[in-house]
């Protein structure tokens, strides 16, 4: 089988799902592929009952890209009938409803495409050095790790008291 189409990126602009889907369908159907799974994350307008104004993403860019590519290659290697994996993460200041991350997987059979997309997303969220600052109506929060929101400035004030 030919090598899967792998692409990773950090993007300040949104990505056209139509363009990517058309391209992947065009380039993989001749190999016997017919299943594309796309995950698109978008900024929640409400978190913990508070209105969100913006969500700002920053990446440690070189390492983030290297890690995203590593994840894509490792996951592609786990299943032979993987035809394409694209991972694009947004950076910059985003508003509610704006796309934050895109994962595209073409694989057969379709259940494998779902499984791969889901696992890739988990890995990207946990392994790639990308950081969020959530600006809500009740203040700004750094988001760290799986669950933790640290109110901006609070941790620093506590550190100063130590």
């Amino acid at each position: 089988m030919s090598k899967p189409i792998i692409r990773v990126g950090l993007s300040k602009e949104p990505v056209s799902l139509d363009d990517v889907a058309a391209r992947l369908a065009r380039e993989t159907n001749g190999l016997g592929a017919g299943s594309l799974v796309v995950f698109m994350g978008f900024v929640k307008g409400v978190v913990d009952g508070y209105k969100v104004n913006t969500l700002s993403y920053e990446a440690y860019e070189d390492v983030a890209l290297k890690k995203m590519e590593e994840i894509a290659r490792e996951e592609a290697a786990k299943w032979e009938k993987t035809y394409a994996i694209w991972i694009i993460h947004r950076i910059g200041v985003l508003k509610p409803g704006d796309p934050t991350i895109y994962v595209f997987v073409v694989a057969e059979p379709r259940h494998k495409a779902f499984e791969l997309a889901s696992r890739i997303l988990d890995r990207v969220k946990h392994e790639v050095p990308i950081y969020k600052l959530e600006a809500r109506e009740d203040g700004e929060y750094w988001i760290l790790g799986d669950h933790t929101r640290v109110r901006r400035g609070e941790e620093l004030q506590e550190a100063e008291k130590r």
Partner: protein, 94 residues
């Protein structure tokens, strides 16, 4: 020797918003822990912040030139050190 230290997220706030800080250490090379101690003399808040995060299970990761390392790692003139908190993963199970 001069070493750049990259800081992100709330760690950047602890160095007054600078995404990168230059640290000067005597000699041609040093252990990462010595570079950090030097950094902390300029930004004592940063040290306390990192300790506080560690106690909350949010331990940082150190990198030199994009490779994960521990505090014994050798650092040379021109290297890029990074101190990274846990990525903003969002919950796997919410």
């Amino acid at each position: 020797m001069r070493v750049r230290v990259k800081l992100v997220s709330l760690l950047r706030d602890a160095v007054d918003g600078a995404g990168e800080v230059v640290v000067e250490v005597d000699g041609d090379k040093a252990q990462l822990r010595d570079v950090l101690e030097k950094l902390y003399t300029s930004y004592p808040k940063l040290k306390k912040l990192i300790e506080g995060l560690g106690e909350r299970g949010l331990g940082v990761v150190y990198m030199v030139n994009g490779q994960g390392v521990d505090l014994d790692a050798e650092v040379k003139d021109g290297d890029l050190v990074a101190i990274l908190p846990p990525a903003s993963g969002g919950a796997v199970l919410e």
